[in-house]
């Protein structure tokens, strides 16, 4: 064989790891990996800004396909999360609070960001109605839009959209089904049966007859009230008429 042909035969294929590494380093792709979460196996994606998505599932190809569709850039598999991010995510999943976990808010509308940031303030073990989010972000009439923004939450569990329920206290919809929503809420210590009982009986707010303060029924202050002193209300008007004022922690009504 001539030397030229010998040299030409040295042309080879680049290792498959090069392109993903470059895309990751230049921010043209997010990294992702399988992760065991409180609601079962999931995929977590991230980039230089923080966690970008969380998806329940076990099929990497289906995940990659959905990711490109949603974000317009690919996700490439990595062996581990960057150390600091990994520690922060672990802590968030353990405590149910975002804490110092960096989140990639880019690509979300201002409205969706406001909804999701507000949602992240709801503590584990508690829930709030859609109308509460709408009022808290200063858009009291946008209840339906709040529902849409939550349905499109790219980082469920971490941004706890499962802690937002229908205005009548019914658990309401969840991307992964109501059963998953119920299971996650119960794992956070919420008594879902009691919540649903209040809902069917038309109770929206609860108060304490010693403090004359009314709360969202799952507010940590409301839960401290003993049964003997617990008062149930069907509406804000009813509570106010009885001489009660809204709780400053859970803000069940405009002050």
């Amino acid at each position: 064989m001539s030397t030229e042909r010998e040299l030409a035969a040295l042309a080879t294929t680049a290792p498959e790891t090069i392109a993903p590494a470059v895309l990751l380093e230049t921010g043209l792709a997010d990294g992702y990996l399988a992760y065991a979460g409180p609601a079962g196996p999931m995929f977590v994606s991230f980039n230089a800004r923080g966690i970008s998505s969380l998806t329940l599932g076990t099929d990497p190809e289906a995940f990659e396909e959905k990711f490109v569709e949603l974000f317009g850039r690919p996700a490439v598999p990595v062996k581990a999360l960057p150390k600091r991010l990994g520690r922060a995510l672990e802590k968030t999943l353990e405590t149910g609070r975002i804490g110092s976990l960096p989140i990639d808010w880019d690509g979300m509308s201002e409205f969706q960001q406001a909804v999701l940031r507000k949602t992240a303030e709801i503590l584990p073990g508690e829930v709030r109605p859609y109308s509460w989010i709408a009022r808290e972000i200063g858009k009291p009439k946008a209840v339906r839009a709040v529902g849409t923004a939550l349905a499109r939450n790219p980082i469920p569990i971490v941004v706890p959209c499962h802690r937002v329920v229908r205005n009548d206290g019914n658990l309401g919809n969840y991307y992964y089904g109501t059963d998953v929503k119920r299971a996650v809420l119960e794992s956070e210590g919420l008594d879902v049966d009691t919540l649903e009982d209040l809902s069917t009986r038309g109770v929206r707010l609860t108060g304490s007859d010693t403090t004359h303060i009314f709360c969202n029924p799952t507010c940590r202050d409301a839960r401290r009230t003993t049964d003997r002193h617990l008062v149930e209300f069907r509406s804000e008007a009813e509570a106010r008429a009885a001489g009660y004022r809204p709780c400053k922690h859970c803000r069940p009504a405009a002050a």
Partner: protein
């Protein structure tokens, strides 16, 4: 591979760098890796350098105006980055030689049927043959005959005159013919 046939790629990169870059890289990476692999002794170094070449290419391109990207001789320009990285790697190696060298070629056998990964012995033999060439000759021979780059692009990548590159290729080949496998 001429700049004329690659012109549409220039336009795509100029129009939307982020969208066009991954496809452009996938089209370039086998050529860059194949060449770099014969300019540095180990597959691990070749992988690192190929990766770094594209990272630097992306960062540079994101600072260029669309007009500048449209006028770039992309293969020559990209090889300028790769050749520099290979040269720097050689300098680093001579200061701090590696004692253990893993041959990672063996892990990358997703090649087509006509492209067989070389054995460790074959790789070592090529390294020995190519290391008899001067750095300029080695670069010129590898870019011309392993990568298939036109003389014009090699001249651009190495900052040498086209005539000098031709001489380098010619003399390099003659030296290689003295050492048969």
């Amino acid at each position: 591979m001429t700049t004329d046939t690659l012109a549409p790629v220039n336009h795509d990169l100029a129009a939307d760098l982020d969208r066009a870059f991954p496809g452009w890289m996938r089209g370039m990476q086998n050529g860059i890796y194949s060449g770099v692999r014969r300019l540095v002794p180990s597959a691990a170094d070749a992988e690192d350098i190929t990766q770094e070449t594209f990272i630097r290419a992306y960062r540079a391109l994101s600072g260029y105006s669309p007009d500048r990207i449209r006028e770039l001789n992309l293969p020559g320009w990209t090889w300028t980055i790769a050749v520099n990285l290979c040269r720097n790697a050689a300098r680093t190696r001579s200061r701090r030689p590696r004692t253990v060298e893993l041959d990672r070629d063996v892990f990358h056998r997703q090649d087509g049927p006509e492209r067989h990964a070389l054995t460790a012995e074959e790789n070592a033999a090529w390294e020995a043959r190519l290391s008899r060439l001067s750095p300029a000759q080695r670069t010129a021979v590898v870019l011309r005959h392993v990568v298939g780059l036109p003389y014009k692009d090699i001249a651009e990548a190495t900052g040498r005159a086209e005539g000098t590159v031709k001489t380098d290729v010619h003399r390099g080949l003659a030296k290689l013919q003295e050492t048969l496998l």
